[in-house]
Every structure is written in C-alpha cells, then in structure tokens.
Amino acid sequence: MRDFMAVARFGGRLYWRDKVALSTSVALSLGLGIGMPFLMAKLRPGDSGLLLDMHLGLLAMIMTLSALLQAAVNLSARRDQLILKRMRATGLNDREIIGGELANIAAQAVLLALVVTVVLYVAAGMPTPGNPLVLVAFVVAGAAVLSLLGAAWTVAISRAELAAAVTMPWFMLAGLGAGGFGPIIQLLPSWVGTVLNLLPTGGIVEGARFAYTGEGNVLLALLNLAVWTAIGLIVLRYRFRWEPRKS
C-alpha cells in the first residue's frame, strides 16, 4: 500500500509537469466539458433537460480523454522509454506500478469531472443531482474503469507516437453514444445506440443520469462497469507488454 501510494504520488508530480497531459487531458477536458454546455445554455436558456443531456454526453467524452486516453498515452510512452522496465527493477511489484499510475490518472480524471460539473452548476445553471453520492460513485468508478481500460488498450498501441490516434475511436464512439455531439444518434438505426450504450461510458452516463433524474437502471450500469473491469484486468494480466521488445 505504501509503495502503491508512492507510485501514485510520483505519477501525480509528473502529471502536472507533463505538457501533453496538461494540454490534452486538462485543457481539452475543461474546455469541452465547460465550454459546450455553457454555449448551449446561452443559446437555449431555460432548457435544463437539454443542458443536462449535453453535459452527460460531454462527461463521457472528457472522462474518455482524461482517463482512458491519458492512461494509454502515459503507459505506452513509459513502456517505450523503458521507464516501466526501470520501475520493475525496484522492489515494486507489477500491480503496484500499474495500479499506482492508474490511481493517479483516475484521481486527476475525477478532479477534472468534478470541476467541470461544479462550474456548470454555478455558471450555467445546470440542475444539481437528486442523489449526489451516486453521481460521485459513478464518476469515481468510471474514472477507475476507464483508466484500467486505457492501460489494457496499450496492447493495441505498437508505438507510443500512435497512442492518441489509435485511442481516438474510443473518444468518438463515447461521444456519439452518449450524445456529446448532440442527438446525432437519433438519425442512426436504433441498434447503433444500443451497441454504443454497451461502452463503459454508456454505464457511466446511465448511472449519472440516475443520480440526476432517478431514471435509468443503476444495476445495469454497475454490471456494465463490472464487465469492463473484468475485461481490462484479463487483458492486462495476459497481454500487457512491459517493454517495447516483443517476445
């Protein structure tokens, strides 16, 4: 536990000096997450249902950016720079290394999501959730699952330079499925929406929507996150590459 926290703290220190993390995760998440709903609130004042839909769609997108993409970029870079290998040369075990890195990334993602949400309550008049604890629980669990999946996704990233490009589909699909680009999904066949709701961000949005409105199936949302957690863990366990050299 002590070692796990040491890795997480170390990751945190590096995060805030990492210009790529600051410009994609932090700047883009805050910009999109606050900017878009804010514009919507200006264009259609008073339509709080629309504002919430927009926010939940963007929440899926910014959490994909700040957790899944950030974990994929960060871990594939550390793998390729042989930093993971060096970390393994210490007394740290594999779980502490990946777990610590992911704990930091998930914590930053939660922080960003909360900042965005609170700013929207205060500045755009978004309604507050009926059940704030459920909201926080889904944001935290969602950030953890998405970072885990980001780590697992590094198996699909042959070189760190490609990390952002290879991870982009997650972002686009998350936005499409959750309505972050607006209600485009209604123009597509209904099965597309059903499939996209199976994404981990589908579970997060479903849980968050329940926290706000009391509508939606929390159990299904939890099941979704549980299944993705299992997938992430299995991929990590059997496929994760610690160094660029393939064996």
Partner: protein, 292 residues
Amino acid sequence: MIQVNGLTKSYGDFQAVKGISFEALPGEVFALLGRNGAGKTTTIEVLAGFQPADAGQARVLGLDPMKDRRQVRRRTGIMLQEAGFFPDLTVVQTVESWRAFTPAARPAHEALELAGLLDRSATKVRQLSGGEKRRLDLALALLGRPDVLFLDEPTTGMDPEARRNTWEVVRALAAEGTTILLTTHYLDEAQRLATRMAIMDRGEIVASGGMAETLATQAGRVSFELPEGISPQELPLPVTMAGAVATCRAEDPDLAAQRLLSWAAEKGLRLRGLEVRTASLEDLFLEGIGNA
C-alpha cells in the same frame, strides 16, 4: 548468491540461452563474457525476474527470481543494459523519486557520491552525457544496499576516470560481501575485477573457471619481425607467421623471448618490434569463441 543450473530461454523458436550453469558466491565478482547476442542480458533478465526461464533453475539468494520476485528485488540492485529516465527530472530528483520505491534506501547524496555524480545533482537528466547517465544508473542500482548486484555493461560510455571509480565501488561492495554478476565487453575490466568468469557464445558457455587459474593455463606470446633472409624454420622455436611478423606461443613467454634473443645475438641479428605478452583474457576469449 546466484545459482544457475541448465538455464534455457527462447524467444519464439530462437534459443537465446541454451542450458547454461554457473554459480557466484557472496563477495565474488563473476564476469559473464561473450560477443553481441551471446545471451548475457537474457541471462541477467531471467535472474532478475524480468522473464521466466523456459527450463532449468535460477536461484538468487536461494529464492526463485520469478516466484519470489518481490523478495529478490528488494535485495538486488540492477544496472540494466538499457533503461529509461524521466528526462525532465534533475539527477537528485530522480534519485529521490527512486528512494521512495526502495526500502531502507541510502541517502541520495551517498548514492550520488558513490557514483561520482554529486556535482551534477541539479542537472536535468536530458542534459546528461552518455557516461553521466550510466553513473546515474549505477547510483540507482546501489540505492538499496543490495546483497546481489547485476551489472550489465556498467561502464559502457564512461570515461577512464569514471570507469576506475566504478571499479573501486565494485571492489568495495564485493569486499563487503555483495555477490556481483558483471557483463562487459572490456576484457581488461573483467580481468581486473572478476575472480571467476564464464564466456558465452550463442547461448552456451564455452569456457569458464577462476580468472587467475584459467589465465595461468593459457599460453603467452612473443612476436617480432622476422629478420630478412631468415626463414621461419631456422628459428629455435616454432612460430606462426602473419605477414612479416612471427609469433611464438609459449607457456612462459619471458623464457621464450630470452631464447630467441640469445639466438639472434649469436647470429648477429636484431629482432625488431619484439613484444612479449603474458596470456590475457582477450586471447582466451578469442580462442573460446573461435572454437565454438
């Protein structure tokens, strides 16, 4: 203590290490030698628990490096042949960060002092020279006061002074009882530091033994330019010719040189470019991999 017995490791269907066995005792510097691709790094990585062995046994401090990796790692220091740093951290920040991962770590300044890097503490890692990075590697490997130290080409890229400094550190650690497994392409380094060695070639050990004993069984050489008008058959000792240079191999090269010189004096000849060399690890090395 390191024990290796019939260790085999393949990558796909390429066998990188083919059933090697050796042992290194506490307080001993054991040199693993061999040309590029011989399997030295692979052996070290298996011993350090980075990869599982396919067959055979590896024991470090009596433990299985894969199964008891945590215990093994906590008592070993590793200088990997290749590993990365965070370029934006300074030298001392790097060491401090690594201390957080190392139980009972040395103070940062002590590790940096040992590695001869104290005066570069405030420099960012990206600005370090190749040899300085290698010293930082050494500082990190020594952080945990390890009982077993793996040094994979530790002095590559170091200047002569840094190499000497590193040798001093290695000797001092061995004197304190640390078991040290060293790979190097500098045979003089191995000859100076190691008490025992093994030469690997294509995954196999082709020669091994105590450094002093092994060298003692090796022939030395005397070489000189063959005087004009003399044929090799006229010389008092058998030689091999390479161009105009005659080389005579002898267990006692000094004695052979004396014989050749007195023969030349009798004939009124001069032996130009006379060189007497006792057996070196280099001869042994070239011979070992030549026979393989």
